[in-house]
Symmetry: C2
Subunit: 493 residues, 2 copies
């Protein structure tokens, strides 16, 4: 009824005033470059709109962070390397992880992973040192009296800074707690990281600090997934699932792009990108892909900066950059060929577009496994694929209506939330500030030792009780039996 509607609007408006009424705070940010920065930036922009003062720590040579364009306070961490060195290290790392690693045997891969883990750690430590060893910067941060630290745990140090500055910590990440420590980082990584942390914090606490202990202090985890994408699993009250917070309705395309898209007629278009990190494929691989694309009736927009493949069909256009979200939201878009990064997958979910996944590294194989299981994608292996593999995958997701239906179902789930993911992320960050760390959401299990956590102390005590009882009973029975025998003997005598 209309009256009820009016009342609800009124209520929500009042509620909203309350929403915005928090005192503006000071937020320290420990970001990670590349795709990780895309989502975090959206949250920070929103927090800034709410009046909060944001200070971001970024290394002097970086990739996506353009120091001059970031609209927040920027503290630059001076690193003893040039941008060229960093890009070279990164390229080596990416080439190894994307193309070399899959060719190695299981044993060699483990050894290589161990080596890469070390080099990853070295890069991380270099950045962390840029903050921790700069006494002048540290005392400036201390004096600024931040209310909170928002950190991306992929590059460690955020938790260390929060600890040193004694402020509540919030993580923003794709994975949740257990996964971060157990899956992403190898044991070597954790051990080396712990040595580093203990060296710095040991001076204050006089005991070894475990990574688990210090990461467990986080007051809130903003996880970049949701139940449209993730399988249902248990979680804790200080977890919020804010996957797809960077997604937004499509804007109109630039004239030239729109004309190309419209020229596809009834067949529509396919959008294809392997993300910002994988720039070039081998010439052979590019030709395999291009010849598959040439055989579909759809027009294809391919974000690709390498040499133009010889087999490129007239239906395919190469672009250095594409407005991915606007293209995925275009009514003519039939499918999305993706490297399965979480950001891209969420844009496809948001707009209900079925996918052909070509996962490369990191969370990408796991991401596409989820979307496949939900029936909205087909997977193709980058290393073994033939033209017909890719062609069949494309035909399947475009022509079999179940993929579109399932993609639309995921989209409906994504859009049917009482509060949008971005608003939730901002709410819970402000919440932790309002409630001085929101200790009431953090489970006490973090403060238990491993044997308490697994109830081994209780089980041990109970087992000891049982053992004692058995011992006493046996002893008694033995005594009775002996006494009986002696008695009989005495009687006989």
């Amino acid at each position: 009824p209309f009256l009820h509607w009016i009342a609800s609007v009124f209520f929500l408006c009042c509620h909203l005033c309350f929403f915005d009424s928090g005192t503006p705070g000071k937020i320290l940010v420990w970001p990670v470059d590349f795709s990780h920065w895309i989502g975090l930036k959206v949250i920070l922009n929103q927090l800034q709109l709410h009046g909060h003062e944001i200070t971001i720590l970024i290394p002097s040579p970086s990739y996506l962070f353009d120091h001059t364009k970031i609209p927040f306070n920027v503290e630059i961490l001076q690193l003893p390397v040039t941008k060229e060195t960093i890009m070279e290290e990164l390229d080596t790392f990416l080439h190894m992880v994307s193309f070399e690693l899959p060719k190695l045997s299981w044993w060699d891969r483990q050894a290589k992973l161990r080596e890469m883990s070390h080099s990853f750690l070295r890069m991380g430590k270099r950045v962390c040192n840029g903050a921790i060893t700069n006494k002048e910067l540290l005392s400036r941060l201390q004096a600024a009296k931040f209310d909170i630290c928002v950190a991306d745990p992929l590059s460690f140090c955020g938790e260390l800074l929060a600890e040193l500055l004694n402020i509540p910590l919030i993580y923003s990440f794709r994975f949740s707690y257990g996964n971060v420590i157990e899956r992403l980082y190898s044991t070597t990584f954790v051990q080396t990281g712990e040595l580093y942390y203990s060296k710095i914090l040991g001076k204050r606490n006089l005991k070894t600090t475990t990574l688990c202990e210090i990461m467990g202090k986080a007051k809130m985890w903003l996880i970049r997934t949701y139940w449209d994408f993730e399988f249902p699993h248990p979680y804790l009250p200080n977890f919020e699932f804010v996957g797809g917070l960077h997604c937004k309705p499509a804007k109109p395309l630039p004239k030239e792009l729109e004309e190309f898209v419209q020229s596809s007629g009834k067949d529509g278009v396919v959008v294809f990108t392997l993300g910002s990190l994988i720039k070039n494929l081998t010439e052979e691989k590019a030709n395999i892909i291009a010849s598959a694309l040439a055989q579909i009736p759809q027009k294809v927009l391919w974000k690709y900066t390498g040499k133009k493949p010889d087999t490129l069909g007239p239906n395919t256009q190469l672009y250095e950059w594409i407005p991915q979200n606007d293209l995925l939201g275009h009514p003519k878009t039939k499918a999305f060929i993706t490297h399965c990064g979480t950001n891209g997958i969420y844009e496809a979910i948001y707009h209900g577009i079925p996918m052909v996944g070509i996962p490369i590294f990191g969370d990408q194989p796991g991401n596409i496994a989820r979307i496949k299981a939900k029936g909205a994608a087909v997977e193709v292996d980058l290393h073994t694929m033939t033209s017909s593999n890719l062609l069949n995958a494309l035909k399947e997701v475009i022509n079999n209506p179940s993929y579109k239906e399932n993609a639309m179902k995921l989209s409906r789930i994504h859009h049917d939330q009482p509060i949008k993911p971005l608003d939730r992320a901002v709410f819970w960050i402000e919440y932790v500030m309002r409630h001085q760390g929101a200790k009431h959401l953090r489970p006490a299990s973090h403060d238990l030792t491993w044997f308490q956590y697994h109830s081994l102390d209780v089980i041990g005590f109970l087992l000891a009780c049982v053992a004692t009882t058995i011992f006493l009973v046996t002893k008694c029975l033995f005594c009775c039996w002996k006494f009986g025998k002696t008695g009989k003997k005495n009687k006989r005598e």
Copy 2:
């Protein structure tokens, strides 16, 4: 900034239109009487405002359900007993659980609990039979094509009806899944319940139905707690914590009450009730309580229908009924003496009032333990208390400011939610309707057997592999050793 505010209001209004745009559905309700009905009624009223058609199944003789006043479609379950018999059974049950049980020895108490569990089950079965054996009613319900069944699991049968009508089930309860089955119900109860269910469902499925299996089919659990009250613990995506959804701002008091409250001056008032189920105390107990109350400077409003205690002080007024929520929200109220029912505790949390808890049965001892741990209450034992116990408890919560501070802290946590609990409860009920059961929120663990759930199949397989390896290696070594020996022997020969 103002512009941002306007934009946000606009966005939320749009969002709201979306909220209300769900198609009205048909909801079948399996309620439980007494305090359980208070919260459920609030949800159902709200659902009705949203245009949904609600049908509620209630037994012919009941306590709080006034058939003529319920504003929903009512289906009356004819039971073969009179209201008098039911009230007598209930009184015996309550007297036993409140006053007799605590006096028994541990062993006697277990035996008595077993007996009571059976009688509770008998009452439940009687109501359930009223629905299940009435073929005419069942086929009417089948024909009505309900979209969903909302059930209170304290009285079993809701899950059975949902199963028979093949519609999604939503539970509304104080406890979560595990607790329901393991703690509230004894093993005997579960076994008898399962026999009953298997008898009815076995005809369709030809196999035994476990209570765990059928309750595990619930699509959503609306749990009547929240992190203001509950300690943080893991939960699943199909759980919503909507504690305190019945709470609302205080209305002005009736003139006579307001005058009495105002007459308390600076000292303020104490509100005292033991809930709707405990009507009368022994004369001795009432005198102990009254003499304690007589010694405090506050005025006391006591909901009590028994004989007026001799020791009643001039500061204490007895009432047959009090507007509890309005009194707790009154600025003059200093403390709340409560039997620790979840509804009352939530009203005190909502208004930030410290408590003296006198828990009696059910969830009440657990409830007060939580509020005590959070520093907003003192507990007094009904069975062993003296006047000075109660007096000291009252002085402590009124004069030690930490209790008021902690109560206000809980209140701030309660009010600082992005969506009010009632709106969330309604949203998720409508959500399950919109998404035809919302299977994407229900973890797959429900479909595992107990040995799969505990990974015993995997562990067993791995152990078998290890055992086989050890066996083969030992065998090989033994053969080698034997062969070596024979070789040596042959050589020697």
